[in-house]
Symmetry: C2
Subunit: 620 residues, 2 copies
């Protein structure tokens, strides 16, 4: 073994590249699956990065002064893991556990490994998130680092890559270096543009980047390009022409070898051909004179939430904005807009904390990617746009959850409640979508007070937290139990005589309360539960209410009937067999451009429909 | 009124533009909402289009020979509706019903109006869908038409626009003319690039387009550009520098007027200033010598589905591919891939019908947009990629449903069942996501036979149809009721003594069957329901099974616990109070890269867990 305590020379880098190749071939062969040919094309690029340019303390992977490496082409995970072995971060034994049950070395990287910043494997996401990391670092971190993203050429077909390139180009991000491994071959066919590397260069140039076109197997060229990129004060993209399967006889540059482990025989031959004379071990951390300053600790801050008086009619979205502005005293809070801040009321945060308000324009995927990047650096990103438009970024939200990042997402203008703008602007799938995210929290406040308190809770919570905001103005409601918390609920109008439980959230809480008035006139006492915490849900209150009302339940929601509040309630109550009779009111008809009241009535989720449904089951 | 029976001259076009402005201002003023300033900037562009270039028979909006106009900037709907009035398609009275309950003239266009091809209003979608329409037309239609897309500059921040530009550029689509209304102002701030029109031009050029930069208020320049675009045999993009609010005093080119109707006073002044001397009526349909050939009728075809024998172990995804290849005898069937056809097995369709197999590369949004475009022309598009990756295109799927398009989406590799590739590749939110789509159908076959029959049903069904495919090989199951249909289910092993109902779908059907064997050994007879039609669901069989088993239910699904099969079952049974006791097994733990059996067991959805859950409730 040759242990390097300083930068490798070009010869050693070439040996390292082949060692990474051999280890990639070995561990994928052992696993019987994986993407060795995708590792081969990028091995020289990655060896130059790890051996000569990456400022990274392998023994302290979470150091704020470390460069960031994101494997946008996550399927080349064996390459990354082989580099971890070369740096002494993992053993050969662990490397050989690749893709087995219980191993940290999964098919695609996840932050189970402390050297991994974000989970990848959904192509077209690593680079956009890297842009977010670089922006967070440039704007707010003490220690300046470089963000490296190893990307495939296949993923350049994803619009999200150009969305990111556009943002980064416009922002002049000079602390990010995306490296494109242009091996021209996809899984089933050549990529759209093959080795038209100059075409990619023109695209990057048009978006404000300086492209560097190189031979991705020439160590000196790669080294020069990385050196140039780190010295430039403008966004620079490395476009490397490579061969898929580089170094493996009969497979190099051939179609049909994507995602296939080599046979034992081929593995043996490849090892014989590629193995360096001695094993290479990297035992240095480059510094480039950067001060190892600690990241700033969050200041201890006292947040003064806005006050709202019972009965006061306030747009719930405005309460959201006012609260967010108040929460902004915490210097970790960063708010990201998609050019709708005047609708979502994050404009109130912008007015108070302009330096931590980021305009991503109409680019929801990059909004989430930017938030993800900020979350990796310890900030508390808050995103807000129309609930409907977060459907555009669902894959990014899904992957952020897999990366175990904490992001607060405010979905504004949900449901038919928004009125005249019509169905395209109505979030009617968002509760289903956000509930299905692993580990998510889903909140849906019905008035200014609950919005305010829950936003303060949400911003401290872990994981993906979704707050459903509401367009209209509604009175601040009186509360028997005025304490709002994740997992809680608010119980109204409860008596021992109650014949039916009405469950609502957001706008339907107000409709349920009006329905209970109608029912009271008909001598049918009803209790109303404000299910503001849709996930986790208050099982106890649901059970006790159902028990008190003989299993009679009406759920009303401003959402499609599938997967939303109703599903949340039913999923919870089903195991207990707690429901005897039930009506589920949800948006089953196509909305149009009527006014708010018309929409609620047309959707059959208004007070009179709730009251009628309750009578059906309570009078029997 | 001046009725034009032939192309308008430039002076008349200018008058028409102002008439469209006046009518936009009038109807938004009447509605008290809308986006008049976004209509003003595009009025000259649209007037030249309608008055001089659009080949459209207004009295026969569904004619196959009509050009296609897609309002990608859907919020400028008042402009489109005002043009409908100018062509005599709607009355002034209907125009004044804009944004009111019951009106076809919604806030954003929907196909409630026969002149509207697809619903828009989620920015960044109209142009990608237009690319799909143009591709369908170029490749398959008899009558060649031109596809015009009026786009905003704000939406150029969406990566989906560049994804579309990249595809269309590479495909050399010459029959599409996107017109970009570059008014430099977004909702809350200037767009990222303002009037850097040359920057946009460089981007389009890099992606293979010929950009034409013009003054969007100069009728002659616009006319020339449209003329050039229609004559060129290469993709041409019109980039028009415009003024937001053009023509309205004090508002023109000012920030802060997005999405606001004018006051009565301002409306009066604007009308006085802008109104042409006489009302202009368009009463011609341009032909440009195109033959009014009818679109080809679908041939009457006899499909011979592949045969599968009971007990035979067949990868379900292969049965999907084999069936799709068989269904390909119908010339309307077009299959769209995202470079994973060897995994989804749509490669079998490609091998048999290469002329109707479209490679969209790794670009899920454009996959759906292309399918939407084909669906508008009467084709039967089928999409297939990993279930997880359709999360990338959720907004496009949502909008396709709003457009009432019929698209068959095959989500392959769902759940932990896929094994070693890890969580990023596992569709664990797809059932929730697809169920929540308005009017969708969700199918999840458990063996080769049910896959085959259900695919044949699915391809004839309306709306968004989602078929969840499965990676592994499973035996073809015997059926008591071997007829598979949308809304049906398959009942196994039913007897009068059954103590518990086990509900599964896809892979968990096999686990439920194995669990019933385990339970039989413990003298607990269980009936197994294969809930292959998740939406619509077979309420009758669920109710009769629950009734027969005293309300005892186990649901097992390879999906997150929220919004999936369990939710579908619970939403259905809740109104009937049919559940007495229940266990819901779903993927609650984070998966890793284990083998299939390890994953199912780790997720606690395998036979032994199902059996244990059933014992808990059946032995009480």
């Amino acid at each position: 073994m040759i242990t390097h305590t300083d930068r490798l020379d070009h010869k050693a880098v070439a040996d390292l590249a082949n060692q990474l190749r051999v280890d990639s071939i070995r561990c994928t062969n052992r696993a019987g699956s994986g993407h060795p040919t995708s590792a081969m094309s990028a091995a020289d690029l990655f060896a130059v990065l790890v051996g000569r340019h990456l400022n990274f303390d392998w023994s302290n992977p979470k150091a704020a002064t470390n460069d960031v490496v994101i494997l946008s082409k996550g399927h080349a995970s064996s390459l990354f893991y082989s580099a971890l072995k070369a740096t002494g971060s993992i053993t050969d034994e662990e490397l050989m556990s690749y893709r087995s049950h219980g191993s940290r070395l999964q098919g695609h990287p996840t932050p189970d490994l402390p050297w991994v910043t974000v989970a990848t494997g959904s192509l077209g996401q690593g680079f956009p998130i890297a842009v977010g990391v670089a922006l967070a670092n440039r704007e707010f971190d003490h220690a300046r680092v470089r963000v490296w993203a190893l990307c495939g050429d296949g993923e350049l077909a994803e619009g999200s890559m150009w969305e990111a390139a556009d943002r980064a180009g416009a922002l002049g991000l000079e602390n990010i270096t995306p490296i494109f491994d242009i091996n021209r071959l996809g899984q089933t066919s050549p990529t759209a543009h093959g080795w038209e590397v100059e075409r990619y260069a023109r695209c990057f140039a048009a978006f404000g980047w300086e492209p560097l076109v190189i031979n991705g197997h020439n160590i000196a060229e790669i080294d020069d390009a990385f050196e140039t990129a780190t010295r430039r004060d403008r966004p620079t993209a490395i476009l490397a022409r490579t061969l898929k399967g580089k170094g493996i006889p009969n497979i190099e540059n051939e179609l049909g070898w994507h995602g296939k482990a080599l046979t034992d025989d081929m593995t043996k031959r490849a090892i014989a051909q590629l193995s360096p004379a001695s094993e290479i071990r990297i035992a240095f951390s480059l510094e480039f004179g950067r001060p190892a300053e600690p990241a700033p600790l969050p200041a201890t801050v006292t947040t003064v939430l806005p006050r709202y008086n019972i009965g006061e009619s306030i747009p719930i979205r405005r309460a959201m904005g006012e609260t967010l502005a108040a929460l902004g005293v915490d210097p970790r809070v960063v708010v990201i807009d998609g050019d709708v801040c005047s609708s979502t009321f994050t404009s109130l945060f912008r007015d108070k904390h302009p330096e931590r308000f980021l305009q991503m324009h109409i680019a929801e995927q990059q909004m989430v990617a930017t938030a993800a990047g900020f979350a990796t650096r310890g900030y508390r990103p808050v995103l807000a746009t129309f609930a409907a438009f977060f459907t555009r970024a669902y894959d990014f939200i899904r992957m952020s959850a897999l990366s175990e990042l904490s992001i607060l997402i405010v979905g504004s203008h949900p449901g038919v409640e928004i009125g005249r703008d019509g169905a395209s602007q109505m979030g009617l799938e968002d509760l289903a979508m956000m509930r299905a995210i692993r580990g998510s929290t889903v909140l849906y406040p019905s008035d200014a007070i609950s919005m305010s308190v829950l936003m303060a809770e949400a911003i401290e919570a872990s994981g993906i937290v979704y707050v459903r905001s509401t367009r209209g103005a509604y009175p601040v409601l009186p509360s028997a139990n005025p304490e709002f918390r994740i997992g809680g609920s608010r119980l109204f109008l409860s008596s021992a005589d109650d014949r039916v439980t009405l469950v609502g959230a957001g706008v339907t809480v107000h409709e349920c309360l009006r329905a209970s008035d109608i029912l009271a006139e008909a001598a049918i006492p009803a209790r109303v539960v404000d299910m503001y915490s849709v996930k986790p849900i208050d099982t106890e209150t649901l059970l006790s209410s159902l028990s008190a009302t003989s299993g009679r339940l009406v759920v009303a929601e401003d959402h499609h009937p599938q997967g939303g509040l109703g599903a949340a309630v039913f999923e919870t109550l089903a195991p207990f067999g707690a429901i005897r009779e039930c009506r589920h009111l949800a948006v089953r008809k196509r909305p149009d451009s009527g006014a708010r009241e018309q929409q609620l009535d047309n959707a059959e989720i208004s007070a009179r429909h709730i009251a009628a449904a309750a009578r059906e089951i309570a009078e029997e």
